[in-house]
């Protein structure tokens, strides 16, 4: 009623009102300009909170209670040593560490502390290793450790049972081997520690909203000896990092595009090109330390015949796979990735020449094994039975899922009919462990060949179908030995040649993993082999990440125009005013 009266009031506008309107509009404009100047074009203004979107929530935040690590563990914990971009081992928490083949000596600086304030000492390292041995699924990592000696308060000597590079390469420079505050863990209990663990990383856990996000806050006690970061202390430019779990690709992508998320992991294959063209986004790229491959069951005919397995290797056109996957992979013919230790490019070159794509060679090898196409249907047969194989393909590994039909058509060109069954990756892994498969698309990701290949290809350590005593001998030599890096390159070159002949796998490609980062994030370092994010020098520029509009004053002005401007322009109408 009141409003209506105002609109239809007899007097259009008084002089006083006019002056008030002008004054308020003017104030609004000035305030708007001021607001715009201070917020949208700051001289030095940083956003204090950084938001990272990752696809999957970890099982636990305690690195000793997980079967896979992620960005959270890298931020909350601190590796004793670390890798630089040439895969050299460099100091991180420790100021130095020496490895002589049978023992590892770790030197901690005198004044390092956990985020809880408890001191990090040689004793703390021993306790953490003991807890890992008991609690972690990878506890057997320390099987080669005889004992941990306390040399002095800040120096520990890890004595090995026999010469071995295992702990030095697979635990000391990796987050799984990071030191945790066992004292705090014992006080809290393992379940509670899994929610709010204490480490010595750049950030510490503030809150975990199950299923949604983890909020990290700066660890002001942080100290590092990393040579490739400038800031060796806490990053005072950032107060909090929020790690959000967004399983859906489109959602994660939208959040990045909207600028509500600064860093995105798990970039979907079909979004790579689009994001590379986005001027607000920088793409960091790194090669996974491992390969995606097809595992072959050697216990079932006709796959027990090496010629058939070799034929499958000839049948795959890896360049076409790369094309289909829009360049997000690197074709791979050997058994190792360039991001792995002891990798040799000449071994890879040899593998490439050994299995250069040739459906004809595949067919002739199959013919040697007795499989020929007698009924001219394109599929080779033997005793009237066509060669039909079943491939287990994981639906939760986007690249493998996508190339399923392509693999099928490539095998068909070589005369092999392949039927695809899609399952959860973990289910497929379990099936292969029980030899309940013919072909299975799989992958691995680990930087040290001694820490992964024996678990896949050693006849006793692994539970798979491949077995070659010669290979076992060579794997043992590295697994329980302390070879020099050059000797290891030679050893794995030799091993790869043997595998190429035995053909237990069909290697397909190495993943290029992408990290999409908004331009507003500066100083980020992404390091191999696991594309670890180092936030030590990161600053987030405010204003560029999100569009800050002078919307408040603008709204004020529009509101004023509506309330005061309209009656002023309205003509006096006695008919309306009467009703």
């Amino acid at each position: 009623m009141q409003y209506r009266k105002l609109l239809t009031s007899r007097s259009a506008i008084t002089k006083v009102q006019a002056v008030i309107v002008v004054a308020i509009v003017a104030i609004g404009v000035i305030a708007g300009a001021y607001y715009y100047n201070t917020t949208a074009h700051p001289a030095v203004q940083y956003k204090r909170t950084l938001i990272i979107a990752i696809p999957e929530e970890p099982e636990s935040l305690d690195i000793q209670q997980v079967s896979w690590s992620n960005e959270l563990h890298d931020l909350v914990f601190q590796n004793t040593m670390n890798f630089d971009n040439k895969m050299n081992i460099v100091p991180d928490l420790a100021e130095a560490a020496e490895f002589d083949g049978t023992s590892i000596v770790v030197h901690y600086p005198a004044d390092v502390k956990f985020s809880s304030g408890n001191p990090i000492t040689a004793e703390a390292l021993r306790d953490a290793m003991e807890r890992y041995r008991k609690l972690s699924v990878y506890g057997s990592d320390y099987d080669s450790v005889e004992r941990v000696e306390i040399v002095d308060e800040h120096t520990a000597r890890i004595v090995l049972k026999q010469p071995s590079t295992y702990v030095w390469l697979n635990d000391i420079p990796v987050v799984y081997g990071a030191i945790v505050d066992v004292k705090a863990a014992n006080e809290m209990g393992d379940a509670a520690f899994g929610l709010k663990p204490v480490g010595s990383g750049l950030f510490k856990v503030k809150e975990w909203v199950q299923g949604s996000q983890v909020v990290l806050e700066r660890n002001d006690l942080y100290k590092t000896n990393l040579p490739f970061v400038q800031n060796k202390g806490p990053n005072t430019y950032i107060d909090e990092i929020i790690i959000r779990f967004i399983p859906e690709d489109v959602t994660r992508l939208s959040e990045l595009e909207a600028g509500t998320v600064e860093i995105m992991r798990g970039v979907p294959v079909d979004a790579v090109t689009k994001l590379k063209e986005n001027p607000d986004v920088v793409m960091y790229e790194s090669l996974t330390p491992g390969i995606e491959y097809i595992m072959i069951n050697q216990k079932v005919p006709p796959l027990d015949d090496a010629r058939v397995r070799q034929a499958l290797n000839y049948a795959i056109d890896r360049d076409e796979l790369q094309l289909t996957l829009e360049g997000t992979v690197l074709p791979c013919y050997g058994y190792m990735s360039p991001s792995m230790l002891a990798y040799s490019s000449s071994a890879e070159d040899f593998a490439k020449s050994r299995y250069a794509y040739s459906p004809d060679k595949a067919r002739s090898l199959l013919a040697e094994a007795g499989w020929t196409d007698t009924d001219n249907d394109g599929i080779v047969d033997k005793n009237g039975q066509p060669l039909t194989l079943t491939l287990l393909n994981p639906y939760d590994e986007p690249r493998l899922k996508r190339i399923g039909p392509l693999l099928q058509s490539q095998f068909a060109k070589a005369g092999v009919r392949v039927e695809i069954r899609e399952y959860d990756y973990r289910y497929i892994r379990d099936q292969t462990r029980h030899w309940n498969f013919e072909l299975a698309a799989r992958y691995y990701s680990w930087h040290d060949p001694a820490g992964i290949l024996p678990y896949l290809l050693h006849s006793e350590m692994a539970n798979y179908t491949y077995s070659n005593p010669e290979v076992d001998k060579l794997l043992d030599e590295d697994f329980s030995g302390a070879l020099a890096p050059e000797a290891r390159v030679e050893l794995y070159t030799k091993l790869q040649r043997m595998w190429l002949e035995d053909a237990p796998f069909v290697p397909l490609f190495v993943n290029r993993e992408f990290t999409a980062v908004r331009k507003s994030v500066q100083g980020l370092v992404v390091m191999p082999p696991f594309a670890t994010l180092f936030m030590n020098d990161v600053k987030v520029m405010a204003g560029t990440g999100q569009v800050i509009m002078p919307w408040l004053p603008l709204l004020l002005n529009v509101g004023l125009l509506v309330n005061f401007g309209c009656p002023a322009s309205r003509k006096y109408d006695p008919e309306v005013s009467r009703s």
């Binding site: 099982e59 636990s60 299923g211 949604s212 967004i246 959602t251 595009e257 973990r426 678990y455």
Partner: protein, 314 residues
């Protein structure tokens, strides 16, 4: 009323073996799924010996019936045990998700009936006319749209392009609720509208409605008092049958909007064969179904005197 109480008590007694049977069945089914949680999570670098060690420590090497009795006796004392995967107490995992789930599903359920029933009634009253076609057409559209697509469209339009609401997550309070609730509600509105329409049409064809019209009663009285009241009885029962499921959450809506609900927890637990979590959630749903069935019966008996007589004869 005492007859009703006796009836409810009897129903509850029958409910107990149902719940026990459901959990036992589920336990047996889970045991027959290939693999077990430890083997499933154990990555490549885990040795065979370590896997066996961990299975022993979780009691997974025990015979199924021992595992079941151990689990059931603990549940009886209110302890759901620990998740194999996250190593957190199951009760903690459920309690941390429950508020978010209810925040999403309860308003959705209520809203879908509040919107759907009037729509269905409007459609029924205008049967064969344009408003029937329009309301039912729209209902059919939302009912047949895949939730996944609907969610993504709402997200892209109102979240990414218009920026009216947050794209995903739960951190913006009421604002973050709008899009997921809408996605979850719209198909249900369609569903309840269709039920309401069918029931209403059936009642409108009854003799007593013709009598009511013939008596010359005003149409509002005929529709609201005579027709709607009777048509609402099956709708009310439907509501109570839907009620237990709200606790199960909505996997697709939760995934699209990264909503930390029970649906996601259940889905992930099934994928990872996390028995204790699956068992607990299914048990809770089973108990709720029994309770809601009883409540639904009582409510419909209160609404409809014809039903009220029957339990006494049982």
């Amino acid at each position: 009323m005492s007859a009703l109480a006796r009836y409810a008590f009897k129903k509850a007694l029958i409910g107990i073996p149902v719940v026990v049977l459901v959990s036992l069945l589920l336990f047996l089914i889970m045991q027959n799924v290939p693999g077990d949680p430890i083997r499933m999570i154990a990555g490549e670098r885990v040795t065979k010996e370590r896997i066996e060690e961990l299975r022993r420590s979780w009691g997974l090497d025990q015979p199924v019936y021992i595992q079941f009795f151990y689990w059931f006796s603990k549940v009886m004392s209110g302890d759901f045990g620990y998740s194999y995967i996250t190593r957190q107490p199951v009760s903690y995992l459920i309690w941390s998700r429950l508020p978010y789930t209810l925040e999403l599903t309860l308003p959705s359920l209520v809203l879908s009936y509040l919107l759907g029933v009037p729509l269905g009634v409007i459609a029924a009253l205008g049967r064969g006319k344009s408003r029937d076609y329009v309301t039912m057409g729209i209902s059919n559209f939302f009912y047949s749209m895949p939730t996944y697509w609907l969610g993504l469209m709402l997200m892209l339009v109102f979240g990414l392009y218009l920026r009216w609401f947050p794209i995903s997550g739960v951190t913006s309070g009421f604002d973050s609720l709008v899009l997921p609730t809408l996605t979850y509600t719209l198909p249900f509105v369609a569903f309840s509208a269709r039920i309401a329409r069918t029931e209403m049409l059936e009642v409108l064809g009854e003799d007593y409605i013709r009598t009511a019209w013939a008596k010359g009663l005003p149409s509002s009285r005929v529709i609201l008092r005579h027709a709607l009241r009777n048509a609402l009885i099956p709708v009310t029962v439907m509501f109570f049958l839907d009620l237990p499921w709200i606790i199960g959450g909505a996997v697709i809506v939760e995934t699209v909007f990264s909503w930390p609900g029970m649906g996601n927890l259940l889905y992930k637990s099934i994928l990872r064969l996390d028995y204790p979590v699956i068992q607990a959630i299914v048990l809770i749903i089973a108990i709720l179904i029994v309770i809601c069935n009883i409540v639904g019966d009582i409510v419909s008996a209160t609404l409809d005197p014809r039903i009220r007589v029957e339990p006494e004869k049982m």
